[in-house]
Symmetry: D2
């Protein structure tokens, strides 16, 4: 049941809006929505605008937070987050350590998969923004810590690093991992992939650096072609303890 | 605690073996292992070979099943499975419908993330092999059904199709999805991506076809270069209801 | 020796200007240039601006025409033109047939390699603009014909097509080629590559469709990475008679 | 007219053979060919096998030498050679310097385009094999020198390097180039691209490093897909003096 101040998506007529169940009105191009009506509804229920249009209520997914959440920088893309999940086999038994939090998008995706996620962010402002998004999302198994991940001392199944990688990060991640656990390091830059690889040699049992070139396909009346837009996002280096 | 007939990984000295906790012995190149000793141990515990070498015991992850499970064909790669998870934001609240099961690898990955997975396979032999792997893995939230997915009538958050796609598959998937839910269709072939796209138009609110070109990076004394091996696996078309 | 009305490049201080040897002055940010002085000079000679800066004179190369020539649409990129030259082994004995001319850039590149180039363009305006560029460039072995390439009846070593391809184009190109000659069809779209391939089967002895994904590499203080800009230009289908 | 000891291609029934006009017989699966008959014929003429099958005679193109010439290592691919030609606008006025010769394939392609080509190879054995291929091909404007390219002191429009690149190579190439001329450095490895780029900064006016990912397209009854075979050949760094 949707409770006061929950975040929900209302959608219809090919559009979606990210709103909060609260008193007040929300203007859309198909009429005003009375947000208080959302409280007590169930996902899948319908809400009616002042002009009589029906909108379906649903809970936001991680992909919606990628679209709608406030950002403190360019977040990792869902495709790259998915690669980390797939290449590590991340699952609901896992304890995941993540840094840097940034806008919190990767950590939010991981929290929907893993048992528990701890995410480090050095900038207090970014950390606070991410915490706000996480509270909004009602996520309980994700903790954002302001500080340096090198100070962390827990035990983890997966460590995910998306930061200015140094050799210390690779060694520290190794020390925190359970046997069979994975370090996944993401970077747009070649040099950080090389750093991860070189330090990981000898420490980890398997090291696999990848580059992912993912392309949107444009299909129109003129024909079908790979989009000429963004087609490199980064290198992902996966290492197993 | 590891129980009789559980599957575990024992690893050490840079190698891993996929074994079952059962009576009997297992030969490795660093000495015989008495498999009965595994029963009652915890993940992270150590087992000693006849020649006195220590091996760490751990539970298999989805990535291990990709390596070690019996196959009835070429399974989807962890990277492509990860893309489906990332692009749909798959999470522990989701009911996922999957077809065709094949070796069961994608379904096993999904079962580690989602609340419940139902997977259809038309070939009885493949279905039975996948069921055996799933039992071995102790997975309880994944059911393999022998038959045609077009007969399924449940409600799902995500439908994943990796089969010879027809327009009926796209329409049927749409009918089974909750509002905000995703169809993800995977195919190595252009034509099936085009079919998914063309039928999906008008039915779904968002349609995003992608091609993923993922490359291993080779790093040796001679230099660093993208591997010249496999670099296309398939097209993934993601559509949202 | 540079003659009146020849096109030349003058360059220095990290910049280049595309000018004509004629009476008149040309303003640059390092001072005025008296263009009449260019007449009678040799490539490699120096010209001095009013403010005493030295600029080197050189003849334009095809790559300069790509940068500086007037365009009647998006021209083929030098890399794609190069692929056509490399994959067909284009050389100074070849007679080359080209269509559509467009801005004339591909034809200009080919004219620097081949013995003779004939290029068809259906739009009179584009044909005239290309002819102007070609006269400017002093190119004598390249003729632009306004009209439909299907009316051409000569014999060629190479036919290059960059137009809305139809089955007739493929059959006609085959008829015009010498034994061992090549048809190279360029298109940004999948469907035209498929058309070339399907019609070419049975007619040609070798058919090789390619996709080229070429990426600029960005190298800065932050690191090295493939540019996220354009990375698909088109499909090139090469067929040998 | 074909003269004694000239290399020619004879083709028909979907096959090609690379032969020499000389006394003796050549066995094909469609009958014996009397090679002496080739002498005095023209390209396009027909020769008849002992079993009465007709084969067309044609002169070899650079692409045929890529297929048929003896190799002393893995030659550069026609597509990469084409990129060098396109990105530098190589043409019949150019003097081209090339190293290392290797099997001579790149130099042979260049000799069909440029006015004159000089190619350096340090291994006498490779140089001699390349010279033999070049004599066979009747190429007169291409000279292979055994030795180190750093000893060369001529003036060139284009320098092409496909060797273990050192900073000295980049500086020396710059010194040999005319204003507006190009250095094109090819390497499968990232590190050599980075070396070219870093040394070229400050020396050259334009520096453009590229990576080319070229993929064969497989089109069969099952569907159309990029081949999973080789899709990285190398980095090409183009710099202009």
């Amino acid at each position: 049941m949707i409770e006061a101040s929950d975040r929900v998506i209302i959608s219809g007529y090919g559009k979606s809006w990210f709103v909060r169940a609260t008193d007040g009105k929300f203007g859309t191009d198909i009429g005003l929505v009375d947000l208080e009506q959302l409280i007590g509804k169930e996902p899948g229920d319908v809400i009616v605008t002042h002009s009589g249009k029906e909108l379906v209520i649903r809970l936001p997914r991680a992909t919606d937070f990628f679209e709608f959440a406030k950002r403190s920088g360019a977040p990792m893309l869902p495709r790259d987050i998915g690669l980390v999940i797939g290449l590590t086999g991340m699952n609901k038994n896992d304890r995941v350590l993540d840094a840097g939090t940034g806008s919190g998008i990767a950590a939010i995706f991981f929290s929907g998969v893993a048992r528990e996620v701890v995410s480090y962010e050095r900038k207090e402002e970014s950390a606070e923004l991410a915490r706000m998004t996480i509270r909004d999302a009602g996520i309980l198994n994700l903790q954002v810590i302001t500080g340096d991940i090198l100070r962390e001392s827990g035990a983890y199944d997966i460590v995910h690093l998306d930061l200015g990688l140094t050799p210390d990060h690779v060694r520290h991640a190794h020390a925190l991992l359970s046997p069979g656990g994975y370090l996944a390091s993401y970077s747009p830059f070649f040099e950080q992939m090389a750093c991860a690889y070189d330090v990981g040699q000898g420490l980890f049992t398997e090291i696999a650096p990848y580059e992912c070139i993912m392309r949107d396909i444009d299909r129109t009346d003129r024909g079908t072609r790979p989009s000429t837009r963004v087609c490199h996002s980064g290198y992902i280096t996966v290492m197993r303890r």
